[in-house]
């Protein structure tokens, strides 16, 4: 395979230079060509490279298909399970690689060497050489796979060389004043751009598939109703072997913890962020704004683990010493309040910069109208700007809520690990994200409901945040359109 790529690259580069040179020679006679010399060069290159690459990949997979079906239909073996088949397949592949390595000791241009030595002496010498060192299992399958592989290699190489040369010849002949090579080359470029934009879509598809499939696995082991409506979270990692499972895996306490902490965070960050934004956009001098805004942005750039440590080391103990212990409520430094406050600090710049954008989008004419009627600045803000910006601000708050719900490190470090339905903000509570981390780190058996529940939690988290995001983005977009 790699010998072919090396060869193709050589031919492609050759085609590049020949086409370019020919175009440049042609240009001396005609004043204008539709495509530039470089376009012609790339035309030649792509014309050779793409077909041979496609061919190589195609033959490679056809070969693999034949090998696999050969193994599957092998009469000597009866596969009890799919796993057994996979094992045999892996063994055969390993042996094939071993023998191929034996035939060609060097890696560079190995396919050439393999084919030539096969034509000269067949595979027996290499087979014997390998057999002298180790025993080969499923010898007949290995031989079959080896022959298929060498045939595929030969086909790839022969066809690849032929097609490469033909395409090179053809593209050199196409070089003319009127043929639009630019269009062809640019089509390839635009296609590549389009393909790369698919990655983002595929990411979402990947997220949904991976979450859904494991959640279905989970649903087959554990009642999904219990998961959605259970009020107790108590995974028992050891009880799985005894009989059934003794775990209570209800999401409600986690959902409660998540929402409670997010609520505290928003209650802290929204007023502060909003007032900051109003001050920055309506009152602050340019100099103050040019300093305060980057500083607030800096706050937004701090990694969440830093906030987590801040909650754990500073805010948690501070709250414990000043409230929890004096009030006789225990000696817990992990608390909803600590995590919520720190998360609030994290969200301040987020809320303030979003609101700042939104307030700035309110047209100046609205302000002028209000001032023209003799309103003070604060009256203008309260009666004109805020009502006008309200949909956008709601959108910003929803986005902040989605951030709060999905935040992980702060709650892992600052909120504690106990899942409970309680109203006391000085108690520690666990959240969905914290439990995902809990269930998926450490050495646990993958195929157990206690592990798989993490995917169900992940799916719930994804759905909740997705709804918030879609709603928020929709509101913000509608708002923007109104003033554009």
């Amino acid at each position: 395979m790699n010998s072919l790529i090396v060869f193709n690259l050589i031919v492609s580069v050759f085609a590049f230079f020949v086409c370019r040179a020919k175009a440049s020679r042609l240009r001396e006679k005609h004043t204008l060509l539709v495509a530039s010399n470089t376009h012609w060069g790339w035309y030649g290159f792509l014309n050779v490279f793409i077909p041979t690459l496609v061919l190589g990949v195609l033959i490679h997979y056809v070969g693999i298909y034949f090998i696999n079906s050969g193994i599957r239909s092998s009469t000597a073996l009866e596969f009890a399970s799919h796993a057994e088949y996979l094992l045999v397949k892996e063994n055969v592949n390993a042996s094939v690689i071993l023998i191929l390595d034996e035939i060609s000791q060097i890696r560079f241009l190995s396919s050439f060497i393999v084919i030539i030595s096969y034509l000269i002496s067949g595979i027996e010498p290499a087979l014997l050489a390998v057999q002298s060192g180790t025993t080969i299992e499923h010898l007949d399958l290995v031989v079959l796979a080896l022959k298929t592989k060498i045939m595929a290699l030969t086909a790839t190489l022969v066809l690849g060389v032929v097609i490469a040369l033909m395409q090179a010849q053809r593209s050199i002949n196409t070089v003319s004043a009127n043929y639009n090579a630019r269009e062809k080359v640019e089509f390839v470029i635009i296609s590549l751009l389009g393909l790369s934009s698919l990655i983002a879509v595929l990411t979402t598809v990947g997220i949904v598939i991976s979450l859904l499939s494991e959640t279905i696995n989970f649903a087959m082991m554990h009642s999904i109703v219990d998961f959605l409506f259970g009020t107790v979270w108590n995974p028992q990692f050891t009880s799985g072997e005894v009989e059934g499972y003794g775990s209570d895996l209800g999401i409600l306490p986690l959902l409660w913890g998540t929402l409670y902490i997010s609520f505290v965070a928003l209650a802290f960050s929204v007023p502060i962020g909003l007032y900051s934004a109003i001050y920055l956009s309506e009152y602050a001098s340019d100099r103050f704004r040019s300093i305060a805004k980057p500083v607030l942005e800096l706050l937004a750039g701090i990694p969440t683990i830093v906030y987590g440590l801040f909650a754990l080391l500073t805010v948690g103990p501070l709250l414990r010493d000043s409230f929890t212990q004096p009030l006789g409520l225990g000696s817990n430094s992990d608390s909803v309040l600590a995590a919520g406050l720190v998360m609030g600090i994290m969200l301040i710049p987020f809320v303030s910069s979003l609101s700042d954008d939104i307030i700035n989008a309110v047209p100046q004419t609205l302000r002028d109208g209000s001032y023209g009627l003799g309103a003070t600045q604060s009256e203008t803000v309260k009666n004109v700007i805020i009502p006008a910006a309200l949909p956008g601000i709601i959108g910003a708050v929803l986005l902040a809520a989605s951030r709060a719900i999905g935040e992980t490190m702060i709650v892992v470090l600052g909120a504690g690990a106990a899942a409970k339905l309680s109203l006391n903000p000085l108690e520690g509570m666990a959240t969905i994200t914290a439990k995902i981390v809990n269930q998926l780190t450490g050495d646990t058996e993958f195929e157990s409901p206690e592990t798989l529940v993490a995917f169900a939690l992940g799916l719930s988290l994804f759905v909740i945040t997705l709804c918030l995001n879609v709603l928020a983005l929709y509101i913000v977009r509608k708002y923007r359109e109104e003033y554009e």
Partner: protein
């Protein structure tokens, strides 16, 4: 009467022939059934009030309307014996250059601005060749003396009038046959405008120039032919002198005398 026939015989055949050209933006008709011939080595001015379709018509000539989504052009536009829609837009635009309303030099050096067209069209064989093309274009753009010592400074650092002359030089560098100018002086002061007008007058020797302008005085000063557009219609197309002295359509007369527009 005899004079005009002789003139017609001397004049070459038209550079661009437009017949029943119609432009629609979405469902809004911007231009209705316009027919006129653009002559070679002549300055043709398109005048008319804002929104009359003169710029839209100009942009049909080099297919710049292609870049606007939901804009459809119908009718017949013949350049070089071939429908404009059949030309490759890229080669077409190299042969029909364009200067825009606002000077829009690339944020690159003066030299690179002028050299860009020749480079992508492969008009030069080597560096010396390219230097020659750049110098020639800048000379014809009446800018050479002002910038010859700072060719490698950025083009955006020039004054407005210089920038616009740079854009003209940049358009000339690809050796076009027709030069389209879309209100080239609207963003310039009177002195810079005078320089550009002088330049247009010289360019007439080698190119067919089509200029869109909202200033009737400018049209009268620089053009030999004038077309008056109103509400998407070509109202009148004639020798500039005739349009301004004895307009045949009452709408033209009202515009020229300042009653509409």
């Amino acid at each position: 009467m005899l004079d005009t026939t002789v003139d017609n015989m001397i004049e070459e055949k038209p550079k661009i022939i437009a017949r029943d050209v119609k432009v629609v933006y979405g469902d809004k008709e911007a231009l209705r059934d316009v027919s006129l011939d653009v002559m070679d080595k002549t300055v043709t001015a398109f005048i008319g009030p804002s929104g009359c379709g003169k710029s839209t018509f100009l942009r049909c000539f080099n297919r710049m309307n292609d870049t606007i989504a939901n804009c459809r052009v119908s009718g017949s536009l013949i350049y070089d014996g071939q429908e404009i829609s059949a030309h490759d837009p890229v080669t077409l635009r190299a042969r029909i250059g364009m200067v825009f309303q606002k000077p829009n030099p690339f944020p690159k050096s003066i030299y690179d601005n002028v050299a860009y067209g020749p480079r992508i069209h492969g008009l030069s064989k080597n560096k010396a060749d390219l230097d020659g093309i750049v110098e020639k274009a800048l000379r014809r753009g009446a800018l050479w003396d002002e910038v010859k010592d700072r060719l490698h400074e950025t083009g955006t650092g020039l004054s407005g009038g210089q920038q616009q002359r740079l854009c003209i030089a940049r358009a000339i560098a690809t050796e076009p046959e027709v030069l389209l100018m879309d209100e080239p002086c609207s963003a310039l002061d009177p002195i810079a405008t005078a320089q550009i007008e002088e330049l247009i007058n010289e360019l007439k020797q080698s190119y067919s120039v089509v200029i869109v302008t909202h200033s009737m005085q400018q049209a009268a000063r620089v053009s030999q032919k004038t077309a008056f557009f109103h509400l998407g219609n070509l109202v009148e197309y004639n020798d500039t002198g005739d349009i301004f002295t004895k307009p045949s359509d009452p709408r033209t007369e009202s515009y020229i005398t300042g009653r509409i527009g």
